[in-house]
C-alpha cells in the first residue's frame, strides 16, 4: 500500500488546481450571488483535456488513472461545486458509461468528441416523480421500426441547457419496472427534444441545472446503449462513476471549508486571543481534519479498485455517503466558526454549506447509501457480474486482461 502520489498525479492535481484557482476562484462569489452560469469555463476545461481525463488515449482522452480523476474533482470542488458537477455528468455518468457499455462504433461517434471536449454530455434518469425509485420512471419509449418514439420529462439535469449529448433512460414496459428500461443517446437538435432551466436552488447557483422534455422524439435504434431491458443496469453502473466524482469533490469541499476556517481562526480574536485557541472551536477543526482524511482514504480505496477494473459499488457508495455527510458537517461548522460573518456571503463558507447540502441528496440520498451499506453487511445484497464489466484505467488494461 503506497500513500504517495506519483509525479504524474501531482502534475494533474497542480494543473487543475491552478486552472480553478486562476480562472474561477476570483469570480465565483459574484457568479454564485447573481446565479450566473459561465459555460466558457467548460470549454476551457475541454481544451485542457480535463473533460477526457480518465478516458483512454485511443478514445481521445488523457488515459489517466482514477486517482488523478479524483484529485481533479477534489481541486474543482474546492473552488466551486458547479465545476465538479461537470465532471460528474460529462465524464462520470456519460463518458465512462459509454466506455463501459457502448459499441465501438458508438464510442467513435460520441465518446471520442466528448473526451476531446468538443461535445458536452449529460445524463437523464431522474424525473419529476422518480428519484431514488429509478425503476419507476415514466418516460416512455415505444419501438417503431428502426426508431424508438420517446415521450416524457427529466428533472434536475445538470448541463441540461449546455449539453450536446444526452444519455437518457426510458421504460419500454412500465409493468416490468427495472427490467423494462432502455438507455438511449440523444443529440441536441433532435425534433421534439427541448431543455430548460430550473431556478431557485439552494446551492450550485453558478451551475446549469434544468429539465429535458421529449415530445415524440424519434430516436434511431443505433442510438440505444446496451440491450432493451438493460437500462437499469447501465444506469446503476453509471451511478457508480457519478458517485465517485461526488465523493472526490466532497473531499475538496471539506478541504475548502477547513482551510477557510483555519485562516479565520488565526485572524479573528475574541476575549483577547485568536479564536483558534478556544477548545470548542478546536473540536470543530479536529472534526474537519478527521472528515477530510477519512473521506479521502475511502475515495482512494474506490479509485484503486476502479483502476484495476474491480467492482466497487459498495466501496464507492460508502465513500459517497461518508464524504458528503462530512462535507455538509464541515461547511456547517465553518459557518459557526466564522460567526455572523459566516452567515453572509462576504466569506465563502455559506456557499460551501449550500453547495454541500445538495450532494447529501443527489447521486443516492444519504438514506439510500445507508440501506446499501446495511444490506451488504447483512448479506441481503451481492453484486452480480455485469455483461459489460467496468473497464480498468488505461495503465491497468493489460493486467486486467491477463486476470480475465
Amino acid at each position: 500500500m503506497d500513500f504517495e502520489l506519483t509525479s504524474e498525479q501531482i502534475q494533474v492535481r497542480d494543473m487543475v488546481r491552478e486552472f480553478a484557482q486562476r480562472e474561477v476562484a476570483p469570480y465565483i462569489q459574484e457568479w454564485d450571488a447573481k446565479g450566473e452560469y459561465h459555460p466558457e469555463v467548460l470549454y476551457k476545461m475541454g481544451s485542457l483535456g480535463i473533460l477526457g481525463l480518465p478516458i483512454p488515449e485511443r478514445y481521445g482522452g488523457g488515459g489517466f488513472d482514477y486517482v488523478s480523476f479524483a484529485l481533479a474533482c477534489e481541486e474543482l470542488e474546492a473552488v466551486d461545486t458547479f465545476l465538479r458537477v461537470v465532471m460528474s455528468v460529462h465524464v462520470g455518468l456519460n463518458s465512462l458509461t459509454l466506455h463501459q457499455w457502448a459499441t465501438e462504433e458508438q464510442k467513435q461517434r460520441w465518446l471520442v468528441p466528448q473526451a476531446k471536449g468538443e461535445k458536452l454530455a449529460t445524463f437523464g434518469l431522474t424525473e419529476p416523480g422518480a428519484g431514488s425509485d429509478a425503476g419507476n420512471i415514466q418516460t416512455r419509449a415505444v419501438r417503431d421500426g428502426d426508431y424508438y418514439i420517446l415521450n416524457g420529462e427529466k428533472m434536475w439535469i445538470s448541463l441540461a441547457n449546455t449539453a450536446d449529448h444526452f444519455l437518457v433512460f426510458a421504460t419500454l414496459d412500465p409493468s416490468k419496472k427495472h427490467h423494462g428500461l432502455v438507455a438511449l443517446m440523444l443529440e441536441r437538435g433532435m425534433e421534439g427534444l427541448t431543455t430548460g432551466s430550473i431556478h431557485g436552488k439552494l446551492g450550485v447557483r453558478a451551475g446549469d441545472t434544468g429539465w429535458l422534455n421529449f415530445q415524440n422524439v424519434r430516436v434511431p435504434v443505433e442510438n440505444r446503449i446496451g440491450e432493451e431491458g438493460e437500462g437499469f443496469k447501465i444506469a446503476m453502473s453509471a451511478i457508480d462513476q457519478g458517485r465517485f466524482t461526488v465523493a472526490a469533490g466532497a473531499v475538496g469541499l471539506i478541504r475548502a471549508a477547513m482551510e477557510a476556517s483555519i485562516k479565520y481562526c488565526h485572524e479573528r480574536e475574541a476575549f483577547g486571543q485568536p479564536i483558534g485557541k478556544f477548545e470548542l472551536v478546536q473540536q470543530m477543526i479536529a472534526k474537519m481534519v478527521a472528515g477530510y482524511e477519512a473521506s479521502r482514504l475511502l475515495v482512494m480505496r474506490a479509485a484503486e479498485l476502479k483502476n484495476r477494473g474491480i467492482r466497487n459499488t459498495r466501496e464507492t457508495s460508502l465513500a459517497k455517503w461518508f464524504a458528503c455527510d462530512k462535507a455538509f458537517e464541515a461547511a456547517n461548522d465553518a459557518i459557526q466558526i466564522h460567526g455572523a460573518y459566516g452567515y453572509s456571503n462576504e466569506y465563502p463558507v455559506e456557499r460551501y454549506m449550500r453547495n454541500a447540502r445538495g450532494a447529501v441528496i443527489y447521486e443516492g440520498t444519504r438514506e439510500i447509501h445507508q440501506i446499501l451499506q446495511a444490506e451488504y453487511a447483512l448479506g441481503y445484497r451481492t453484486d452480480r457480474p455485469l455483461r459489460c464489466p467496468q473497464p480498468p484505467a488505461q495503465a491497468w488494461e493489460s493486467e486486467a486482461a491477463a486476470r480475465a
Partner: protein
C-alpha cells in the same frame, strides 16, 4: 533552430515564510516555477508553433524536477537538469558559469530566460551569460516576433518601449507582459512521460573548483519590522482636517 529556455524552481512567493530563528526560508514552503521563466517558456513555445524545425530545450540549475516536468508538459522537447550541491550554493556568477559551460556544449540560436527570479532576484544571470558567451542580450522583453530569421523584441524602458532587432544567437530576458503562459494540458502531461530529462553535475560540465566558488555569500533573511504608523488628527474641525488630509495625499502624489 534550437531554443533553450532557462527555468528555476523557487519558493512560492505567495506562501514564503522566514524562520526568525535561523534566518532561513521555512522548510516545507511549496516550490513553484519562477514566474518570469514561464513567460520565457511560453514565448519559446509560440515560436516553435510557428515553424516546424524548432528543438526546444528546458534547462535548470538546482532542484527543479517539477518545473522541468511542467516545461515538458507545456511543450519542451527535452530537459537538462544541472543538479550539484556545490553549484546550488553558488552566487549568480557561479550559476552563469555553469550554464555557460552547458550552453557552449549544447549550442543555441535563441536563449530565453525570465528577467529575474523571485528568490535571488539579481536579474544578472542573463547579462552575465551574454558576456561569457559573447552574444547579444535584450532585457525586459515584453513583445517578441520573428521576421525572416531576425528577432524583433520590444524592451520595456522607463515611460515607453524600445524596439530592438537581434540576429541569432541571442539572449532574451522576459517580463510578464510578454504573454500569458499556458497551462500544461493533460495531453501534454501524458506526452511528457516519453520525453527525456538529462542530469548534469559540475564535473560533467568541466567546471573547476575555482569556477564553482561563490564570491558572494548570503546573510540571514529577516522580515522588516512594520514601523509605519497611522496619522490621527485630533482636536481639529472638519474643514481643517479635510484640508490637511488633502495636502497629505497631494504631497505623496496619491491624488
Amino acid at each position: 533552430m534550437k531554443i533553450v529556455v532557462l527555468v528555476k524552481q523557487v519558493p512560492d512567493p505567495n506562501a514564503v515564510r522566514f524562520d526568525p530563528r535561523t534566518g532561513d526560508i521555512q522548510s516545507g514552503t511549496p516550490q513553484v516555477a519562477n514566474e518570469y521563466d514561464l513567460h520565457a517558456m511560453e514565448a519559446a513555445i509560440q515560436l516553435k508553433e510557428r515553424r516546424d524545425d524548432v528543438e526546444l530545450v528546458a534547462v535548470s540549475l538546482g532542484q527543479a524536477r517539477e518545473t522541468l516536468n511542467r516545461c515538458l508538459a507545456m511543450g519542451a522537447d527535452r530537459a537538462v537538469a544541472i543538479e550539484d550541491a556545490t553549484l546550488a550554493a553558488g552566487d549568480s556568477t557561479v550559476t552563469a558559469r555553469a550554464l555557460a559551460a552547458l550552453l557552449r556544449a549544447e549550442g543555441f540560436d535563441l536563449l530565453l530566460a525570465g528577467q529575474e527570479t523571485s528568490d535571488g532576484g539579481t536579474g544578472t544571470v542573463g547579462p552575465q551569460l551574454a558576456a561569457l558567451l559573447d552574444v547579444p542580450v535584450v532585457s525586459n522583453v515584453v513583445a517578441l516576433e520573428e521576421r525572416d530569421g531576425v528577432f524583433v523584441a520590444q524592451r520595456e524602458i522607463e515611460d515607453g518601449r524600445q524596439v530592438l532587432e537581434v540576429t541569432p544567437p541571442a539572449i532574451l530576458c522576459a517580463l510578464s507582459g510578454l504573454n500569458e503562459p499556458r497551462y500544461p494540458s493533460l495531453k501534454g502531461i501524458m506526452a511528457a512521460r516519453r520525453k527525456p530529462t538529462e542530469t548534469k553535475t559540475a564535473a560533467d560540465l568541466g567546471l573547476s573548483a575555482a569556477e564553482a566558488q561563490a564570491r558572494v555569500t548570503w546573510g540571514p533573511l529577516f522580515q522588516e519590522e512594520e514601523t509605519a504608523e497611522g496619522i490621527i488628527l485630533r482636536d481639529v474641525d472638519a474643514d481643517s482636517a479635510v484640508d490637511q488630509l488633502v495636502a497629505f495625499l497631494q504631497e505623496r502624489k496619491l491624488i
